[in-house]
């Protein structure tokens, strides 16, 4: 807790069990400020469960999740309400895209700034000055982000029916609305073709450099992870295998057996 100097997130002895199954078992790792950090492991290793614990979708059985929030204070996230997490400066995307089909692209992105809206219900009912100002301000912010991603042309189209790669970008755009300190991406490259993956690598780097945030991601595509991440944490059956640079992880015997070796056969 005291040595959070350059760290944005520090997980200590995290454990959660579903019935008899220990999905995450005594896992510890930390993420530096400005770092792109990868979490890898075979299917069912507990990666998404770790994400869900950090974002408080699941309440961990044991362990601490220290996070340096927007104001620079260190805080244990365990027990914080799910909908309060984003206000701390921590935002996530989902493995299966969770966008709203009935809303337009820009409206979906604007939801990312939901907590920045302060207008009262009455104010919204009659679309008074405050509502109009907030709407305009936050719509502009959403459009700027969409413009940056090259999606401005489709901003007023519904998300239903957009190609998969575009949906992934929209979800990422939504996550950027509040200038988070840490962005958690659950399999951002899944289902993308090679060109799309390459442009995503650049986009994620750009986001980190321009917005001064850290990124934690889960990914299966090893080329993607090795090319992008500063450090990688490999887990299997909810337990830590190794933490290190991509090169170290690639050389690690245990990781090779558990994960890389099997994939090559």
């Amino acid at each position: 807790m005291d040595n959070m100097n350059n760290k944005v997130l520090k997980i200590e002895n995290l454990s959660i069990a579903f019935g008899g199954l220990k999905a995450v078992d005594d896992l510890s790792f930390d993420i530096n400020e400005g770092e792109i950090f990868g979490l890898i492991g075979p299917n069912g290793a507990g990666k998404t469960t770790v994400f869900n614990c950090i974002t408080q979708f699941y309440k961990p059985d044991e362990g601490k999740i220290y996070f340096k929030n927007n104001k620079g204070e260190v805080e244990d996230l365990v027990g914080v309400k799910t909908h309060e997490i984003i206000g701390k400066g921590l935002v996530r995307t989902f493995q299966n895209i969770e966008l709203i089909r009935e809303l337009t692209v820009v409206e979906n992105v604007m939801v990312g700034a939901h907590i920045d809206f302060k207008a009262s219900l009455f104010n919204q009912f009659f679309r008074l000055k405050k509502t109009r100002e907030e709407e305009a301000k936050i719509r502009k912010r959403a459009e700027d982000i969409l413009d940056h991603m090259g999606l401005l042309a489709i901003k007023d189209m519904l998300t239903a029916g957009q190609p998969y790669g575009v949906l992934k970008k929209i979800e990422l755009a939504r996550a950027l609305m509040l200038n988070p300190k840490l962005i958690i991406l659950d399999e951002p490259a899944a289902g993308l073709n090679d060109t799309e993956t390459l442009s995503l690598v650049n986009l994620i780097r750009e986001i980190r450099d321009e917005r001064n945030c850290s990124i934690l991601l889960i990914e299966h595509d090893m080329k993607f992870v090795n090319g992008l991440c500063d450090r990688i944490c490999a887990i299997n059956f909810g337990k830590l295998l190794a933490i290190g640079t991509p090169q170290e992880i690639q050389k690690n015997q245990e990781v090779q057996i558990a994960y890389l070796g099997k994939e090559d056969d």
């Binding site: 909908h83 989902f94 009935e102 939801v111 939901h114 809206f117 919204q124 907030e134 709407e135």
Partner: protein, 341 residues
């Protein structure tokens, strides 16, 4: 100048549309007094407009928040009894009655929601069904206030203590409230609360990750739905001037649900269209047909068949028929051009 006008229209499109709709509706009393349409038509249209208000509230709940309430009739009935009691028995002004008769059902709605909305799933539907039946029982049993089965009466509203409305005046008041509710709904669903509700309906995970307090937003949309139901009840009471327990049965709640399914989920104009179909067609058309008109409950059969057809062909409501009409018209137009060219 013309350009300015069209610009203004585009900028305020939904508002001007709603206003135009309201102005057209306001001509009905004139048509009645000129003898062009029947006297009874005004009553039918007024009740359709009242049910539109109620259905708009339910559409916010079902279409935008993904929750189902079966207590619409009960809360509407409660609005009628409260306003009748406050204006007729206590002799207090209409405006005060309006506020109390909307606030009290809302409070009861919130209490119901506090218990049933914590749990995911259809518990709200079950809880509201129970509340609605309890309320109906109250209307019957508390006869020292409600007059039991014989029902309760009230007068046309007196605005601001001196402006005594007649039948036509009350009708215009109903039109005013409908347009107001349409504008409010339009604004709400296009603001951050509306988007939060839609997100909650589409993906609870995404909503809570984006900072939407699910429980609070569920409660909020339910409270608004109840408020609109009660408002409909108040207007009903002061137009029909009579309420009795068996007017507020489950069948009415289901009919309001049918309004949304038939007219258009997540659509304001669709809701009004649905109300005209569900509450208008049986009264205005079916009853006048030779054989069908004599069948008891023909309206139910009509609604049932219509729901099946709509779900098959227009799953998002009949309001979407306009796109098909537009497309077909365009096709016809193009064909004509091709032949000419």
């Amino acid at each position: 100048m013309n350009n300015k006008l069209t610009n203004f229209y585009k900028l305020h499109k939904p508002y001007t549309q709603f206003l135009l709709f309201g102005i057209i509706l306001s001509f009905l009393p004139l048509l009645v007094s000129l003898g062009i349409v029947k006297y009874s038509l005004l009553t039918t249209v007024a009740s359709i407009l009242i049910y539109s208000i109620v259905a708009l509230g339910l559409n916010l709940l079902l279409g935008y928040s993904g929750l189902i309430s079966l207590g619409t009739a009960g809360f509407m009935g409660m609005g009628t009894y409260l306003t009748a009691f406050i204006t007729a028995d206590l002799g207090l002004p209409f405006e005060l009655a309006l506020i109390i008769s909307v606030a009290v059902p809302m409070l009861i709605g919130v209490l119901t929601g506090l218990v049933s909305l914590r749990i995911e799933g259809y518990y709200l539907a079950i809880a509201t069904l129970a509340i609605s039946e309890i309320l109906r029982k109250v209307f019957i049993e508390f006869d020292f206030i409600t007059n039991g089965f014989s029902g309760k009466q009230a007068q046309y509203p007196k605005l601001l203590g001196f402006l005594q409305l007649d039948r036509n005046g009350t009708y215009i008041l109903i039109v005013f409230f409908l347009i107001l509710v349409m504008v409010m709904m339009h604004n709400l669903v296009n603001s951050h609360t509306g988007r939060a509700l839609s997100t909650m309906r589409g993906s609870e995970a995404a909503a809570s990750a984006m900072g939407v307090n699910i429980y609070r937003h569920r409660l909020l949309s339910f409270a608004i739905a109840v408020a609109f139901s009660a408002l409909g009840g108040v207007l009903y009471m002061h137009f029909v001037r009579y309420t009795y327990p068996n007017a507020w049965i489950l069948m009415l709640s289901l009919n309001i649900l049918a309004v949304i399914v038939i007219g258009g989920i997540r659509s304001i104009s669709g809701t009004v269209l649905g109300a005209f179909i569900v509450f208008g067609v049986p009264d205005l058309i079916l009853k006048r047909l030779p054989v069908i008109g004599s069948i008891d409950g023909a309206a139910y059969i009509f609604n049932g068949v219509l729901i099946i057809l709509v779900i098959l062909f227009y799953p998002n409501g009949l309001i979407n028929i306009r796109y098909d009409i537009q497309r077909n018209l365009r096709k016809l137009f193009k064909k004509g051009e091709e032949i000419n060219g």
